[in-house]
C-alpha cells in the first residue's frame, strides 16, 4: 500500500485537541436548526479556522458521496484527521449528545400535553410545515445545481421511484446510482 499522506489544514501546524473538537462540534450541533450543514461551514472555516474553505469543501464532498449521514461522515473524518479514531468519537459525541437530550426533552414535554385539542391542532400544522420544509430544501438545491438534461431525468426517475411508486430504497439506489455514474462518465468522455 502507498504511504498515506494526510492533507494538512492550511492554518499552520496548530494542533486541535480533543476538548476543542468536542466544543466545536457541540457548537455546531446546538446552533444547527433544520440541519447542521450551514453552521458547520461557519464554525469550521470562519470561526475556528480548523480548515481552509477548499479543504472543508473537499471533506464535505467526500462525506456526501459516502454512505451514511453527510454531516456524520464529515464529523468522523475531521475527528480522525486531528485526533485519530478517538477524535472521531469525541467529535460525534459533541455533535449529537446535547441535541439528542434536547430532542428527548421536547418529546417528553410534548407528550405530556399531546392530549389537548390545541396541541393536537398545532401538531398537524407543524407536521405539514416540516414536510414543506423538506420540499423547499429540495427546490433550493435543484435551483443551485443547474443540472444537465440527463441529470434532470435521473432526478425525476429517482423521485418517481421513491416518492410515487414507493419502490424499495436499497434496490432503487443500487440500480440508479451505477446508471447515473455511467451516464455521467459517458457524457464527460465525449
Amino acid at each position: 500500500m502507498d504511504k498515506i499522506v494526510e492533507p494538512q489544514p492550511h492554518t499552520g501546524a496548530r494542533a486541535i485537541g480533543r476538548l476543542e473538537l468536542f466544543m466545536g462540534f457541540a457548537e455546531m450541533g446546538l446552533c444547527g436548526f433544520g440541519g447542521v450543514a450551514t453552521i458547520a461551514r461557519h464554525v469550521i472555516v470562519e470561526k475556528r479556522r480548523w480548515l481552509s474553505e477548499h479543504d472543508y469543501a473537499a471533506i464535505l464532498g467526500m462525506g456526501q458521496i459516502l454512505p451514511g449521514g453527510n454531516i456524520i461522515n464529515m464529523t468522523v473524518m475531521l475527528g480522525d484527521r486531528f485526533q485519530g479514531p478517538l477524535g472521531s468519537v469525541v467529535a460525534l459525541a459533541g455533535l449529537m449528545i446535547m441535541p439528542i437530550i434536547i430532542l428527548l426533552g421536547l418529546t417528553v414535554i410534548y407528550d405530556a400535553f399531546a392530549g389537548l385539542p390545541d396541541v393536537r391542532a398545532a401538531t398537524i400544522g407543524a407536521g405539514a410545515a416540516a414536510a414543506g420544509l423538506v420540499i423547499g430544501m429540495g427546490l433550493k438545491m435543484g435551483r443551485a445545481l443547474r443540472l444537465s438534461p440527463v441529470h434532470i431525468g435521473f432526478a425525476l426517475v429517482t423521485f418517481l421511484a421513491m416518492g410515487v411508486l414507493r419502490l424499495p430504497f436499497i434496490a432503487t439506489i443500487l440500480v440508479l446510482a451505477p446508471l447515473c455514474i455511467a451516464a455521467t462518465w459517458w457524457s464527460v468522455r465525449k
Binding site: 433544520g34 480522525d80 434536547i102 430532542l103 418529546t107 423538506v134 420540499i135 430544501m137 430504497f169
Partner: protein
C-alpha cells in the same frame, strides 16, 4: 415480538439503511417511513409526521429522526440501537476512506461519481418531502401549509424554525375556528 428481537430489528434496519443511503438524513425519510409505518407497526402516519416535526424543531443533525424513531419503538435501548447502528458501520467506512482521501481525490472516477450523485439526492429529498407530506396532511389547509412552508424555505434564508412555528400557529388557529 420480544424486546431483544425488536432492538435487533431496529439495529439491522437502520444499519442497512445507512450503509446504502446517499444524500444524508433528509433523503432517508421515504425509507424511514417505510420501515416505521408500512413494514412494521411502529408508528402511524400521524405519529410519523409528529415525530418528524419534533426532530426538526430541536437543534442538531437531521439524522436525529432515526434516534427518535428508536426511542418511540423501544425507549432508551431503542434510541441507542437505532442511532449507533446508523452511525457505526458508515463511520468506519468514512474513517478508512478519509485516510485514503488524497489517493481517491486524484482518481479519474472521483469527479464523475461526485457529479453523478446530486441528481439522485435531489430526487430523494423531494420524495422525502412528498412522503412526509402525505403522512402529515389530509385537507386543503394542510396542503396550503406544505406549499407555503416549501416556498418560504426555497425563497428565503431565514431560520427554518420560523416555518414550523408558523405552521403550528395556523394549525392552532384553524383548530380553534373549527377547520380541523
Amino acid at each position: 415480538m420480544s424486546g431483544d428481537n425488536l432492538i435487533l430489528k431496529l439495529a439491522m434496519s437502520f444499519g442497512a439503511l445507512s450503509l446504502v443511503s446517499v444524500g444524508g438524513a433528509p433523503a432517508m425519510m421515504p425509507e424511514i417511513h417505510r420501515l416505521a409505518v408500512e413494514i412494521n407497526p411502529w408508528l402511524t402516519n400521524g405519529e410519523f409526521a409528529r415525530d418528524f416535526a419534533l426532530s426538526q424543531t430541536a437543534p442538531g443533525p437531521n439524522f436525529m429522526m432515526i434516534s427518535l424513531v428508536g426511542w418511540r419503538v423501544a425507549g432508551f435501548a431503542g434510541l441507542m440501537a437505532a442511532t449507533l447502528a446508523a452511525i457505526i458501520p458508515s463511520s468506519i467506512i468514512a474513517v478508512i476512506v478519509g485516510r485514503l482521501y488524497t489517493r481517491f481525490s486524484k482518481q479519474a472516477w472521483f469527479p464523475i461519481v461526485k457529479a453523478a450523485l446530486p441528481p439522485l439526492v435531489l430526487g430523494l429529498i423531494v420524495a422525502s418531502g412528498v412522503v412526509t407530506a402525505r403522512a402529515a396532511v389530509s385537507g386543503a389547509l394542510g396542503f396550503a401549509i406544505v406549499a407555503g412552508s416549501a416556498l418560504f424555505v426555497a425563497l428565503s434564508r431565514r431560520n427554518p424554525l420560523i416555518s414550523i412555528a408558523g405552521g403550528a400557529l395556523i394549525g392552532l388557529a384553524a383548530g380553534r375556528l373549527g377547520f380541523l
